[in-house]
Structure formats: structure tokens, C-alpha cells
Symmetry: C2
Subunit: 365 residues, 2 copies
């Protein structure tokens, strides 16, 4: 049996707690002899700053490059609000994404039936919701240069960020979206602001070309990102796969996640290009929720998004779709049994701590 | 009595129909001797392209500069999808905003009680909602240079958009937001992405300074634009005034509008700086909804957003707050009576055409 190398980066806030439940799941898989995972730990975000005054150390970057997959918790918190910009907690995550070439961010927004009532939307609007947001993750305004603040004198400063996209970046994220749609409901909605942004014009043009050349069997629709956001709030079930740029993807995927009422439940995968020789790709898996410093260390955090992110790792990095399905089923079963962490509790359900939730899922498996 | 000069720019799609109802209201005000409005008409968007191959003519730009206020309908439609980029319908609107210096875009998101059920959100989440979104309108990625698509050869192109903000631009929009908050619930939430964008860092810094120097009596909160968008969907009533940049404002104000279930009802105002001598400011008023080409010319459009935008003109440009209140009350009364255009109809209400709705509001007055 091949050994799979995992780098666990718990990060800050509730990161370590929810990562603990993944560690437990990994130990179980190893003990059962289902697969062989070798784990290493690293520091990222505020915890890396506290230890080394950086957002991620060169040593941990090397481990990340050597790993078969990275399992990432969450970063940030008020404690590090005034550290220098270059070493703020988020910088560690952004460096991982960029230096590992993790250009494809997959964010499923799924409404767990047991939780439909937790949504601020009407049940009929979100029940059965199952959207996949494909967000470009290594380009756009996140990384474009110049990115500067200049002192103009007279008390005036000028801040500049640059949105840059090249054809190949749009092509490859388009292919990821179209490939996913083929395994789903065969529809891709591309969102940009072509009426205002040149990058939107190019995005629209390239998506249309990739579709016409390679994916005629998939339905492609274009929407302006602002009206797309509206439609997401009004009638989210009309969407299957949404493909969009880094910044719009940041906004739209958060909104989609919130619609489901299941924010503490949603995983994400960030994938690199498939190596032509090894057929492998770099990958990082993280929950959509943040580090929630206010509840950190209290055993209150919901570990489901983190466990489900590890499920995505099984599916996308280790070709263990069957085991991933089992993890998903175990989560659904535990929810159906009425167990709830504080963020999703409602009348008539049973309260569970982070650990109790993790244990219950393991027991189901 | 002073004569007020209005430029009416109906634009495309349903623009001319809904503008017709404003014209009727103006005629009535003139006839009653309440005020003296002089109106001129101009072309913008697709209709300007059809007539002159531009998105707005120099003649109409001159009229816009000479007017005391501009009343704007809507632009765009599939008919002009392939006109050259520089003369696309939206370019006319963008030029008006930029050349007239209309930097402050006020977008109230109000949930009309009679329409709370039209929202995809639960009634309790939106009933009584009353947010004011203050969007910076002449800066950011909308106008920053370079804004280009370059051919790199080898089938590759590179698209660039530039987000630029100077201190003074953030200061002046901040002041608009704080001044409005003082007349409302005294709270401003500033949204940016300081964890990724340098413009977000400067935005945050300048808002904090303006607040500390001039508006200590107002509560200021900062939120990242992505989690701000989430909070808007989860619990919108926590907000009073939201101040944000051009692009985030575009997305967030559309989402806020959709939350209310009253998209066809929402007005907006775009204001320039107050002239130190004349105490006047340039201004443009337009509905938040678009040109809805699919229902254009059928008498189906809801004129309320357009009429309500004219109400904002009365309030912000002509100091006729009392008359503006009356217009708002007339709209509320007509809705309470059960009259509905197609976009907001529900069981037990009475169907009305564009004209019937306009007439009913006039009768209330
Ligand atoms: C933490 C932050 C840098 C990050 C982003 O903006 O991409 C987060 O919001 C996300 O969506 O993963
Ligand atoms: C028509 C378009 C250029 C415009 C914008 O993006 O600002 C519109 O969406 C708006 O919000 O007024």
C-alpha cells in the first residue's frame, strides 16, 4: 500500500480543535488498514508569527511542497490585527496558494436537509441546494502588480491594486468548471463584470471559446457578477457550477455558503495543475469558515467542515471516492440523529462538543 | 419661484415607460404651482447609439452639465451586445458619473411591509429592514488606468484593470456616510478587503481617521467585504449605513436590494461635491433595477423605483423634503391598497399596468 504524505496546518483560533478531529479520523483509517497516511504538522498564520515572526516558515513551505496534500484549518484573529502587513496571518495562506499553484478553488454550497431551517432564506428556496463554485485562486487582484500605497505628500496617499488575467489562466479554470459540470447537472454559469472591466471582457471571451472548442455538450451561461449575486439570493437552485475570478469568487462563495445555513459544514478544495508525468496535482483542503477566535478553545467549534474538507482530499487527491462517500454519509447520519454543535443547534436537538461530534462521526464509520 | 432645470434621460428598455410616469408627476407639480420644473429630454445608452453611434452625445453631456438634476431611466439590452466596447450602453452612464463628479451613490434598501413576503428571505429577517448603502462611484477599478487588453502573441492575451483610491476620495465618501448616519441610527459599517488589497488598507485607515477627527458621536465598524456580504444575507437588520468602494458597492447594493424583495421599488441618488459658492451639487437619480428588455414596451414595468428616485431628487437636490415625504407616503398607500404591477403581484392583490400604478400614486397625492 502506498504511503500518502499529509501536511496538517491547523493555524489559529478554532483551527487546532477542528484539526484534532481530522487527526482522529486519519488514525482510525490507518488503524483499519484502509490506507496509509503519514502526517506532519506545521504552523501558519498567527501561530507561525508568534513562533517565527513570519506567516509561514520556509521549512513549512518545503514540507508543503513535499506533501501529497495539505489539510488547512483557519488563520487570523484580533491578536494579530497590527502585525506588519507582509506577515499578517492571511499572507501565509495566500503564499501557499500562489507558490503551490493552487489555481482552482472548489467550494460546494450544499444545504443539508436537517439544517435547511438554519438558513435566513425560506426553506423552499434552499432545500436541496447543491451548487459548486469554482473560483480562480492564484490570479486577479489578489496577486497583480503594482500593489502599493504611495505617499503623495500634502497628507494624500494613493493605493493601487491591479487585476490581471491572462488567457491561459481563464482557460484552465474554465476546464475545471466544465469537467465538474459533466459529472453534475451539466451547466456552467460564468460571472464577471464585462460591462466595466477589461478582465471581464477577456474572461467572457475565453470561457466562450473553451466552451465552443471543447465542451459543447455542457450548457454555458454568462451573468454579470452583480446580477449573479442577486440571482444567488433570489433563486439559488437555478445554478449548478458557477465559475468566476478570485475576488468575485471570494464574495460569491461566501454568500452561497451563508444561504445554505450550513456555514460550519462547508469544505473547500484548492487544486493545482495535473503533472503530465506523475498525473498528480498539488492540493490544499480547508473549511470555508474562518478561525472564529471568539469561540476558540472552548470545545464549541463545529468540526464537520474540517472533516468534510478531509473527505474532499480523499476524493480529489487520493482517488478514494468510496471512502469519501462514507465520510459524507456518516456526517449526514449523525446530523439526522439530532446531534448538533452550538452553531447549528435548534429545538429538539442534542448538544455536542467538538470532540463529541467528531467521535459520533467516527462511530458511524 | 425659482425654476429648476431637469434633464430626463429615459435610456433603453423599460426606461421610457417608467420615465413617462415621472413626467406625469412633474406636470402635476407644475400645474399645482408647488414648484416650477423645466424639463429637457436626452438620449443615453443604446438609444443614443442607435441615433448617433455614441453612448451619449456631446450635446446631451452639455445639457447634463447645465441641469440642476438628471433623472435617469436605465440602459442596455441584448440588441447592443456587440457594439464596440467604447460605445456600449453602460459607457454613457459611466461617463455621466465620472464627468459630473458624482462620487456619492446613495442606495437605500428598504423593505416595504406590504412586500416582505416577496423576499426569498424569511419575513422576520427582512421585515422593517432599512439600510442605506453609500457607494463610492467615481473611483476604484471602474476608472483606474491602465485598463487594457494586450495581445501577447501565441494566442495569449492579458487583461488589466486597476483599482486606485486616493485619500481625499475616501475622506469625502466617508463624510457622506457619517452625515447620513447622524440623521438615521448613527452607525456606519465600512467594508473592504484590507487583508488582500492595499486599497482596502488605505480605505480602512482613512475611514478610521475621518471618524476619529470629525464623527466621534457616530459608531464606526469595519468588516471585510466577504463576511460583510455574508452578514447582509444572514442578519441584514444589524446594519444602518454601509460605506464601501465602487466595485464592492455594486455587488453589495444589488444583494441588499434583492433581500428586500422590492427590487422594482428601490431608488438611488448619485451626488457630486457641494460647490463652496453656490451651495449646489450636481446630481443624478436612477432606479436600482435595470432596463429589463424582456418586458419593455408592454406596460408591465413597475414605475415605483423611478418615481421614488424622483422623490430622492426632491429631497437631495431641491430641498423639498416635505413633498418627498408625500411621494413616499403615496407609494406606501397605493401598495397598502393592494395595487401591484406584475413583478410584485401576489394572491389577493389587484393587477396594475405601469400607467395605472403611476396614476394611482398621483391620485393619492
Ligand atoms: C483569509 C482570506 C485571505 C481569504 C481570501 O480572501 O481568499 C478568505 O476570505 C477565503 O475566502 O479563503
Ligand atoms: C450598468 C453598470 C455599469 C452599473 C455599474 O456596474 O455600476 C450598474 O450595475 C449599477 O450598479 O449602477
Amino acid at each position: 500500500m502506498a504511503t500518502h504524505k499529509l501536511l496538517l496546518l491547523p493555524g489559529d483560533g478554532i483551527g487546532p480543535e477542528v484539526m484534532g478531529e481530522v487527526q482522529r479520523l486519519i488514525d482510525w483509517i490507518n488503524a483499519q488498514g484502509i490506507a496509509k497516511f503519514e502526517t506532519e504538522q506545521g504552523l501558519v498564520g498567527g501561530s507561525a508569527y508568534d513562533a517565527h515572526k513570519v506567516s509561514i516558515s520556509e521549512g513549512d513551505m518545503d514540507k508543503a511542497k513535499a506533501a501529497d496534500a495539505i489539510i488547512f484549518g483557519a488563520v487570523g484573529g484580533p491578536k494579530w490585527d497590527s502585525v506588519p502587513y507582509e506577515v499578517r496571518p492571511e499572507a501565509g495562506l495566500l503564499r501557499l496558494r500562489k507558490d503551490l499553484g493552487l489555481f482552482a478553488n472548489l467550494r460546494p454550497a450544499v444545504c443539508y436537509p436537517a439544517l435547511a431551517d438554519a438558513s435566513s432564506l425560506k426553506r423552499e428556496a434552499v432545500e436541496g441546494l447543491d451548487i459548486m463554485i469554482v473560483r480562480e485562486l492564484t490570479g486577479g487582484v489578489y496577486f497583480g502588480e503594482p500593489k502599493t500605497i504611495t505617499d503623495l505628500g500634502n497628507g494624500q496617499k494613493r493605493a493601487i491594486d491591479t487585476q490581471v488575467y491572462d488567457t491561459y489562466e481563464i482557460e484552465r479554470i474554465g476546464r475545471v468548471a466544465f469537467d465538474l459540470a459533466r459529472k453534475r447537472r451539466n451547466k456552467v454559469t460564468s460571472m464577471e463584470k464585462r460591462n466595466v472591466m477589461k478582465s471581464g471582457v477577456l474572461w467572457n471571451e475565453v470561457m466562450t471559446q473553451v466552451h465552443a472548442r471543447e465542451y459543447k455538450d455542457v450548457t454555458l451561461e454568462h451573468q454579470l457578477a452583480d446580477s449573479g449575486g442577486m440571482m444567488l439570493v433570489k433563486a439559488p437552485k437555478q445554478f449548478d457550477v458557477i465559475v468566476t475570478d478570485n475576488l468575485f469568487g471570494d464574495m460569491l462563495s461566501d454568500i452561497a455558503a451563508m444561504l445554505t445555513g450550513s456555514l460550519g459544514m462547508l469544505p473547500s478544495a484548492s487544486l493545482g495543475e495535473i503533472d503530465a508525468k506523475t498525473r498528480k496535482r498539488r492540493s490544499l483542503f480547508e473549511p470555508v469558515h474562518g478561525s472564529a477566535p471568539d469561540i476558540a478553545g472552548k470545545g464549541l467549534a463545529n468540526p464537520i467542515a474540517m472533516i468534510s474538507s478531509f473527505g474532499m482530499a480523499l476524493r480529489y487527491s487520493f482517488d478514494m471516492g468510496t471512502l469519501a462517500d462514507k465520510v459524507d454519509a456518516a456526517i449526514a447520519a449523525v446530523l439526522a440523529s439530532g446531534l448538533r454543535t452550538a452553531d447549528i443547534k435548534s429545538e429538539g436537538t442534542t448538544a455536542a462538543s467538538t470532540t463529541q461530534m467528531g467521535e459520533a462521526i467516527l462511530k458511524e464509520l
